[in-house]
Amino acid sequence: MHDISVPNVSSGKEPLLRALGITKRYGTFLANDSIDLDLYPAEIHALLGENGAGKSTLVKIMYGLIQPSAGELRWMGQRIVLAGPSEARSLGIGMVFQHFSLFENLTVAENVALGLPPTESFAAISGRLEETARVYGLPLDPKRLVWQLSVGEKQRIEIVRALMQNPKLLILDEPTAVLTPQEADQLFVVLNRLREEGRILLYISHKLDEVKRLCDTATILRGGKKVATCNPRQETAASLARMMVGAEIGQVKMASVGAPTVPRLVIRQLSLEPDNLHGTHLEDVSLEVRGGEIVGIAGVAGNGQDELFAALSGERQAPSDGAVVIDGEAAGLRGVTERRRMGAAFVPEERLGHGTAPRMKLSENALLTGHAASGMVNRGFVDKPATLAAVDRTTKSFDVRKAKRDPEAVSLSGGNLQKFIVGREILREPGVLVVSQPTWGVDAGAAATIRQALIDLAGRGTAVLVISQDLDELAEIADRIAVMFHGRLSAPLGAADATREMLGLLMGGASIERGAGTQEVGDAVGT
């Protein structure tokens, strides 16, 4: 387990896994277009590309989850056709997914057992799991129920489960998306160790500085094609970005505006019980967002962001009316529609199913938030032309690409749908905008459009609150940043103080004394 020897491969320069001309077609859409990739042992190989470039598809093919439309895979020189993940695992290919394949209501041991072949007894698996976890510095208690664990701990289950099968190739899909910077450092220690043991690590990411720190080689995908293979340490972040995106992405322009004005959104000591078993308890959250500024809330998913969003939007009632104040008016007990009438607008994290009804047309999705106060409803009757007009306006202002005038929401790509959703709210010229994960899973072009729109909106005097897991994004657009951890919100830091390190500490649970520059570092590593 500690030192794998890959015969006649580690010394020579034979690739362990070769992907030759891998192509995957979905209808007319080419997710992967004739991709060649070689993976050599004892290296950490990055797979770079923006959202939608085809990285996930390619690795799912390598793991046997999806079948390629054309092309082949060669493992140790032999052509292989993977019938499924279990066959991949038996060959020595392991994968840690971005979205965990875990069973919340089962124990850690049961989850691990389900990811392993049925040849071992349950007791043996339990024991081996504890040992492996300990050896690699990723401690786990086999008997705990998974829903009780933090996101970082859940990822450990995925990693340990993969390691227990002694993989020669370990694929990791955006592993640090759910980790604090300190947890990410810990992970890198583990990954380096695995590399020293002779394994290959295929590391999917879109975070360039991470890749430069960690990886020996990088393959860059763009639009389903392989664009380049290079040594990331010899490239700059800018050159990598250019290869990923294919063009220069303009920097977002900060709006030139005077000092922010009055607080338009005030959250005052908001505490809230979770409404389901797996939720987070909000405790004493307080924040002021002034007109003309963008305040960011950073934090790893699962620390109360969903609950906070629901309390702000009105999907859940706050305990008191004064806990949420919009433009001077108490709104904590008001419903969503009423808050919209007060001039607030909201963009939730989930595009399909929450922000829009996937199988309904865009015009109906415009009505979804527009019926409150946008002249679309007349004495109970819906004004269809008005809803269509809203779609047209949004399409034009935000460059939403779609197949026809009024398609179903689900037919739009992620980036275009997100532009529609954000645009729909911004065009109502709200006084307060709360947006969660504005550019998650969105291509770089759309992301830039959205971020610029947010900045421009703030420039016109709106109070904008952005909840995001992406520190780079917040660094780009936020004036002040606060951090959410375990349902508590830190005091906001100004742009200068909000260094990666500081934010990382806060995301991991360090506590900060409000106001003064002193800090106490509590148990800094988030568990």
Binding site: T356, R359, M360, F381
Partner: protein
């Protein structure tokens, strides 16, 4: 060989229209086979079932009479089902509505009461149905109890309530000990539209209900709320709609319509209250709702079609000695085909051959 479903990019409009027709065609074929198994000539049997009832005016009137409660109940149920709220207790709401309305008829029976009696009965019927439907609704909203089971259990209870009343306190003293109430007075009866037939004003009421609900669903914000709740519940909440209130509303409306259908049926074609006022209208209405694709106009057509099969079934029992249960079988098979064909609106079906080993062996 393996059956694999692929989600379509957009719902197929052509299949949406063709699907009920294909389903009906498949059902007819299956029924023909069933008839053959039972030893009857399939063509003759199908003719007796589907063609004969259309041939004489009295039969056509009977179809309308049978379709009236079906359509009225189904339209109400469609509101629930669109929003993924499963009111299965329409049969019970039908019965309770009949009971509540009949109370007034029984109370004023033999007295010289005025024309207010019938409207009063109709209101009581609708109210009774609505309140009875609120029981499973409140159980769901307040206590989280599954509405399918609660509404269904209440059907059995409703039946026993009616059974008790009709055999006990409300039994017609001059009725030779049959378990029925006295026949309703003329002021307590739904007027007949055409002399010599049983076609009554309730049919017009059903048509009115169809039109009103069609407008509501397609054009109003309430209709949007119902459709959104079924399509994307989380988005509905985000849109500002209260899901609890929607449960109460849809149950109340469907209960009211079922109850109204119940009292109309009793005060119209039947003329008095007795244990057998419903050959399962509340359950057949569920099929009508699905067959009509949860759309008021579709329900109207589907209701007429299923009413046709009821009449056909009665004819067949006499003409070719086919048991009445066959009608139920027909309805179940029809619903089966409708559901199966409807799946094609959203999914494409592909058969994957065993030749591609990697592909077939995965799942």
């Amino acid at each position: 060989m393996q059956l694999v479903l692929e989600k379509r990019a957009e719902r197929s409009a052509t299949i949406a229209i063709a699907s009920p027709l294909i389903a009906i065609a498949l059902t007819l074929v299956t029924m023909a086979v069933l008839f053959a198994i039972l030893g009857k000539n399939p063509i003759t049997a199908l003719g007796v079932y589907f063609i004969d009832p259309l041939t004489d005016p009295y039969s056509l009137g009977e179809i309308a009479v049978k379709a009236t409660p079906l359509v009225m109940i189904a339209v109400g149920l469609s509101l629930c089902y669109i929003a993924n709220i499963w009111n299965i207790g329409a049969e019970g709401q039908f019965l309770i509505g009949a009971v509540c309305g009949s109370w007034l008829a029984v109370r004023t029976n033999g007295t010289e009461a005025g024309y207010w009696v019938l409207p009063g009965m109709l209101c009581l019927g609708a109210l009774g149905g609505a309140l009875y439907a609120m029981i499973p609704a409140i159980c769901k909203v307040r206590f989280g109890a599954n509405e399918i089971l609660t509404s269904l259990m209440l059907v059995y209870i409703a039946y026993y309530i009616m059974d008790y009343l009709v055999r006990g306190p409300w039994r017609d003293p001059h009725g030779l000990n049959f378990p029925t109430t006295a026949p309703f007075d003329p002021v307590a009866t739904v007027p007949i539209l055409i002399e010599g037939s049983r076609l009554h004003a309730g049919t017009l009421a059903a048509l009115l209900v169809v039109m009103l609900v069609a407008v509501m669903l397609g054009r109003t914000i309430m209709g949007f709320e119902i459709r959104l709740a079924g399509a994307a519940p989380r988005a509905a909440r985000f849109s500002g709609f209260n899901s609890d209130n929607l449960v109460l509303f849809t149950f109340a409306v469907s209960g009211a319509l079922a109850g109204l259908a119940g009292i109309i049926e009793v005060a119209g074609p039947i003329g008095y209250l007795q244990p057998d006022i419903s050959p399962g209208y509340g359950f057949t209405a569920i099929i009508v709702a699905f067959l009509g694709r949860l759309n008021p106009l579709g329900i109207l057509i589907a209701g007429l079609f299923l009413a046709l099969t009821f009449i056909g079934g009665e004819n067949a029992e006499i003409a070719i000695k086919v048991p009445l249960d066959l009608t139920k079988v027909f309805q179940g098979i029809l619903l089966f085909y409708v559901l199966a064909c409807d799946s094609l609106i959203v999914y494409r079906i592909r058969l994957i051959g065993a030749s591609s080993k990697a592909v077939a062996a995965n799942v």
